[in-house]
């Protein structure tokens, strides 16, 4: 089987299928209504990002007359041609579900999203006052006169605008303030009634131009190509180079125009025709929506208080078993490793780890990578404190983390001011690995502690994404972590890692070797399997090898949340491969790789997917789970993930995804619920034990 002709699903098309699975959740009547709304919001937000990155690139190539052959054997033009109609019908399904199912049902349940034209008189009065008192002063109206072609340049990517037409060549433009809630809550006792801000502006916006006669109006949103090209050669001042390109993103080439034009008048027709030309978007990039461009706003609605019946019951993260906020983390880690399964188990120990390190006078140094973090991150504050206290804080801030660049630049500057050593990423590589190390002076000498994980150092997403993190003080892991930091901070060019495996240097090779080992095992008649969970799978070399392994007798179970270019179940090619995908209340984000190894299973956690970019263009880590307890737990987690038949879909040999909750033979099993309950049970058992053992808090007598 040569690399060129392996069965391979194009990545963009497969991604669209993933988003369709998210959308499926929004369509499932068995889900609570606001959860459905949440999934619709996620699907919409996903599409936004997909549009400005993946589709934007295809469109750019198309405009530049570049036709690029992909690993699926399709040319980029062909992909774009196949993609756009599917994308359009997905948008239609999304808004269709919203308009015809979810919003009406919510209305029934007492939560109404109103349209401007349906307002009652007292409501009109209310928003008139709202406009005058709350909006008027914060709006920045802009007049675009005859011969002024600046509409295209003016629109910020992703922002929602209301546009008024005055005469043939005169326009008024108002941006919906992004710092305000998107919805105004209208007065009323029985129901909660919400009105989107654009409806308020549509109604009273003309007051901003008192001397003009409004002929027509529209709500619109422009999305621009967000692929950045930064000069990688500028090492010395990469931070300012990044700031420059971030400014460019706002001005990238337009790729999509979303319009709401509930206007059948002549002027409405005229705008429908002219707006795309004014902003220079091809017809394939124009989407006319019934209402509500930028569906991220639905997230606020989905999280409204007072509608618990329409939402999933709350699953509060619990502390990992054996661990409590009073645990002396250093003592604890001296005795054992701690594997944390987020978000079932809380992110607290990780925060504690860094906070205690920042406060502890015996801690000498802290090193950490930062890919994505929250705006007001307790981790970053801990690092800041540590640096101010004179500890050596070294942090690699990935300035190229897409859409978090701005926030990361902010943190980079703040930490630098506090005295930390800040490294602004690496040339041509994104540092995606998640690792932290604390160096502590103890009675027996220096001891290092590490955290190695699959998820970002982000306390906010740690409540929503499933991830695994390992805290350990095993010398073999801490030494490797130290070497890793030397490599990414420029102190060493050679690694010599023993336990950890790092991309782009040796991760691909190690995976290939591990897959080969299973193939050899299978050929020798030993048990042979591969079980892996990742966010996406598209690396042609890995896929080809998995096909070979399948036919060599290795049974392969893959749990791929997002896009998957591998085609399972093909006779003679991938007959022993099974691919499932879980979409549930938490975003599946943990990466686990397990290999049978002739009956002595090995399991690894990683920051990397089996994607070409992870293996070749990023700094990633693969971490073995070796302690008996952690290893058993990792294997158990991976095992259970495949039992899910309530929130998972399976990829067929024809490239379609089939929900596993339909025609289910086995009893229902929902992996995320199982993990949540297991975490709670372990936590309760521990609490129970603690209650039975009276623990007195005092110094030992005589000290």
């Amino acid at each position: 089987m040569s690399q060129k002709n392996i069965p391979y699903i194009n990545f963009e098309l497969s991604w669209l299928q993933f988003n369709s699975r998210v959308l499926d959740e929004g369509c499932r009547k068995s889900l609570p209504l606001l959860e459905r709304l949440r999934f619709l919001s996620i699907a919409g937000t996903n599409l936004d990002e997909f549009m400005v990155i993946r589709v934007a690139r295809l469109i750019r190539w198309d405009r530049e007359n570049r036709d690029v052959l992909g690993p699926s054997g399709k040319m980029s033009s062909q992909v774009l041609a196949e993609l756009m109609p599917r994308l359009r019908s997905q948008v239609e399904r999304l808004y269709g579900t919203l308009e015809t199912e979810v919003l009406p049902a919510l209305n029934q349940a007492g939560l109404k999203l109103k349209r401007g034209e349906a307002l009652k008189e007292d409501e009109v009065e209310y928003i008139r006052r709202y406009f005058r008192e709350n909006l008027f002063s914060v709006l920045t109206p802009r007049f675009i006169g005859p011969g002024d072609l600046s509409l295209r340049e003016t629109l910020t990517s992703g922002a929602v605008y209301v546009i008024f037409s005055f005469s043939e060549e005169e326009l008024g433009l108002v941006k919906i303030p992004e710092n305000l809630d998107r919805f105004v809550t209208l007065p009323g006792k029985k129901k909660v009634t919400l009105l989107p801000l654009e409806e308020v502006i549509l109604r009273f916006g003309p007051l901003l131009w008192p001397s003009r006669q409004v002929r027509g109006a529209a709500v619109l949103r422009l999305s621009r190509d967000a692929n950045l090209s930064v000069e990688e050669e500028k090492d010395e001042d990469f931070l300012s180079a990044m700031e420059d390109v971030l400014d460019d993103r706002v001005k990238g080439r337009p790729v999509r125009l979303e319009m709401v034009l509930n206007d059948s008048s002549e002027e409405g027709q005229r705008l429908r025709k002219l707006l795309p030309a004014w902003v220079d978007v091809d017809p394939q990039g124009v989407f006319e929506l019934p209402r509500l461009p930028r569906l991220s706003c639905l997230m606020d609605m989905a999280q409204l208080g007072g509608f618990q019946g329409l939402q999933y019951p709350s699953w509060e993260p619990v502390p990992p078993a054996k661990y409590s906020s009073e645990t002396d983390i250093w003592q604890f880690l001296k005795e054992q490793d701690l594997l944390i399964h987020h978000p079932y188990e809380s992110f607290e120990p990780v925060v504690h780890f860094l906070e205690q390190a920042a406060e502890d006078p015996e801690v000498l140094a802290i090193k950490m990578t930062l890919y994505r973090t929250s705006g007001d991150s307790p981790l970053m504050r801990a690092l800041e404190t540590a640096a101010r206290r004179g500890k050596q804080v070294t942090i690699l801030v990935e300035l190229k983390a897409r859409f978090d660049e701005g926030r990361n630049i902010g943190w980079a500057k703040r930490l630098e001011r506090a005295g930390a050593i800040v490294i602004h990423g690496m040339r041509n590589l994104k540092v995606h690995a998640k690792a932290a190390m604390v160096v502590r002076r103890e009675q027996q000498g220096i001891r290092q502690y590490v955290h190695l994980g699959t998820g970002n150092y982000n306390d906010s997403t740690a409540r929503k994404y499933t991830d695994l993190g390992l805290l350990s003080s095993r010398p073999e892991l801490t030494l490797d972590t130290a070497l890793f930091f030397n490599a990414i901070t420029g102190h060493s060019t050679t690694l010599g890692l023993v336990k950890l495996v790092m991309a782009p240097l040796s991760l691909r090779g190690r995976f290939i070797q591990l897959i080969h080992r299973e193939m050899d095992g299978a050929r020798q008649g030993k048990p042979a399997w591969i079980r892996a969970k990742m966010n996406a799978l598209n690396d042609p070399e890995i896929i080809r090898l998995l096909y070979q392994a399948s036919e060599a007798g290795v049974s392969i179970d893959l749990n791929v949340r997002g896009a998957c270019s591998l085609l399972p179940g093909l006779k003679g090619i991938s007959s022993r491969i099974r691919v499932i995908s879980i979409i549930d209340r938490y975003l599946e984000h943990s990466r686990l790789y397990s290999f049978c190894n002739g009956g002595k299973p090995e399991i690894y956690i990683s920051s990397a997917d089996w994607r070409t970019r992870n293996l070749d263009q990023r700094i990633e880590l693969l971490v073995p789970l070796e302690g008996q307890e952690c290893k058993a737990r990792g294997l158990e987690i991976l095992d259970n993930i495949f039992w899910d038949n309530m929130q998972s879909q399976e990829l067929t040999s024809t490239g379609e995804w089939i929900p596993r909750w339909e025609n289910r033979e086995e009893p229902p099993f929902r992996a995320q619920e199982f993990f949540h309950k297991a975490a709670v049970r372990r936590h309760r058992e521990r609490e129970e034990r603690n209650r039975r053992e009276l623990q007195v808090r005092r110094k030992p007598p005589g000290t």
Partner: protein, 519 residues
């Protein structure tokens, strides 16, 4: 918390080698072994500069400063106070090395010490010993060759039944050869590798003639290239080392011969600069392996730096003491090579120690002097190999130029002067070798030669017939009591002649008495 305990303090070593600067941070455990906390390396073309032009270029010096500053940052993260920074062959040979060392000191506050080949050997030996400790007893029953191929030099140590009989530093190394091949414009890769192999072979033949390389049953190989090669060799892993097979190693070279440097870099996952050295390095190893024809080769997980860690926490004298047996074995190896009479020099050694033990306090001598005295006793007659006439002078020359494991150049200079003055003329300021020593060393030579002369005089007959029972003092008279009842004239005459130094410098008279019979 108490940090005063010596055990708990991490220390670091930095090593400026021919192709890279490397660092290692370690901490001694309660059991006395080392736990490595951190390490790293950054390429630096010291060897390329020095083996090419003889000088370290300014650009290289700047880069060295940058790298060392970075390493200082890493060390600061561990609160390191004690560290050792050494340079090996490339730095040793650099004509502008003093300027380079000053520049580093000014810019980084780091003081670089240049390690002699022998000192390097010593550190390597320390590292090997600790790494192979579980199998050491077994190894000590055999003849073992320890080989470390570096960028500028190759260290060879030969142990026969646990005794170090030879310790040599050969001027062959991957960077050195690469430089030479590159210089010879138009030399193809094939010709280049053949050249390396021929040169190595030539040196090996010389070494074989000198120390004898037969009946070696075990080879221990260290160095960057052999370690890089492990991945391709299906090595057997033991706890602290791996075992590779000679044939497999040999065939690996054939595989890599066909690759370009870029391809090598890709396969090894190393920077171009390291990849370039891979094949030259492998060929040096291979030439050794094929010459010695041992089927299995032990590759320990360590480098000279692990040994250097020990060097940070111990004073040089302490380390020398640690190597007492090895140093003496190495001296005996040299003595044998020059056909010195073993019975005689062992007698002189014993007698010297007897004298030392009664005089050390009086003369203000320390333990390290005792070792030097022993070494000089073993070596004092090697000059006779060249000619009996003036053999003390020939001996001094030979000692100065011999590879004696565990002794640095300064030690050897003292030793050479002791050999020089074990007979005939007393030390004089206007003698070239003696005059060039510093004051403390001159004093050492005087005191120790004084002892050596007497010990040698006692066996003037070279028959070891004078068995000393006791040494005691009668006022300023130092009395040697022997149970030999025969004629003592020869010895007395000789003593009279050779006790001059002791009498002159320290005011002691010497008497030799037979038990119970006064003179």
């Amino acid at each position: 918390m108490e940090h005063s305990k010596k055990l708990s303090e991490p220390v670091a070593v930095l090593d400026l080698g021919s192709s890279a600067i490397r660092f290692l941070i370690g901490q001694q455990t309660e059991q006395g072994d080392w736990r490595i906390l951190d390490k790293g390396e950054n390429s630096l073309s010291l060897g390329k500069d020095v083996f090419g032009s003889g000088y370290i270029s300014s650009a290289t010096a700047r880069k060295a400063i940058d790298i060392l500053r970075g390493f200082k940052e890493v060390m600061a993260g561990y609160g390191i106070k004690r560290y050792l920074v050494v340079g090996t062959s490339a730095l040793r040979e650099a004509r502008n090395r003093d300027g380079f060392i000053d520049r580093i000191l000014i810019n980084t506050g780091i003081e670089v010490q240049v390690l002699s080949g022998v000192e390097a050997n010593q550190m390597t030996y320390l590292a090997v010993e600790s790494s192979l400790s579980p199998v050491l007893p077994a190894l000590k029953r055999n003849n073992v060759l320890i080989l470390e191929v570096g960028g500028g030099s190759t260290e060879v140590m030969l142990l026969k039944k646990g005794r170090l009989v030879a310790s040599e530093v050969l001027n062959i190394g991957s960077v050195r050869y690469l430089e030479r091949i590159t210089e010879e414009a138009g030399m193809s890769q094939w010709a280049g590798t053949n050249y390396i192999s021929l040169q190595t072979h030539r040196l090996l033949e010389g070494l074989a003639r000198k120390v004898g390389l037969k009946k070696i049953s075990c080879l221990v190989a260290l160095g960057t290239e052999v370690r890089l090669a492990l991945e391709f060799l299906e090595a057997d892993r033991e706890e602290n080392y791996q075992i590779i097979r000679r044939e497999r190693f040999h065939s690996l070279i054939e595989e890599f011969r066909l690759l370009t440097v870029d391809e090598v870099a890709l396969r090894l996952n190393v920077p171009y600069g390291d990849a370039e050295l891979f094949l030259p390095g492998l060929i040096i190893y291979d030439t050794f392996f094929e010459f010695i024809k041992v089927d299995q080769i032990i590759v320990p997980d360590i480098s000279i730096r692990e040994g250097l860690l020990q060097g940070v926490v111990m004073a040089p004298e302490e380390i020398r003491e640690l190597f007492r047996e090895q140093i003496l074995a190495s001296c005996r190896g040299v003595a044998q090579r020059y056909a010195a009479g073993e019975d005689h020099y062992e007698y002189v050694r014993d007698a010297s120690l007897l004298i030392y033990d009664v005089l050390w306090n009086e003369l203000g001598l320390e333990k390290r002097h005792r070792l030097l005295l022993e070494a000089a006793a073993i070596l004092h007659d090697i000059g006779s190999y060249i000619s009996g006439r003036g053999h003390h002078k020939h001996g001094a020359y030979l000692v100065n130029n011999a590879e004696i494991f565990g002794l640095n150049n300064k030690d050897k200079k003292i030793l050479a002067q002791m050999v020089r003055y074990h007979r005939k003329s007393k030390p004089q300021q206007n003698h070239e070798g003696f005059g060039s020593l510093d004051r403390v060393s001159r004093l050492t030579v005087q005191k120790l030669s004084a002892i050596l002369r007497i010990a040698d005089a006692l066996d003037r007959s070279h028959t070891q017939r004078i068995n000393i029972r006791k040494i005691y003092f009668e006022g300023r008279n130092m009395v040697f009591l022997t149970d030999f009842t025969g004629d003592l004239t020869l010895e007395r005459f000789s003593l009279q002649e050779k006790a001059d130094l002791l009498e002159e410098v320290f005011g002691f008279q010497i008497s030799l008495r037979s038990q119970g019979i006064p003179i």
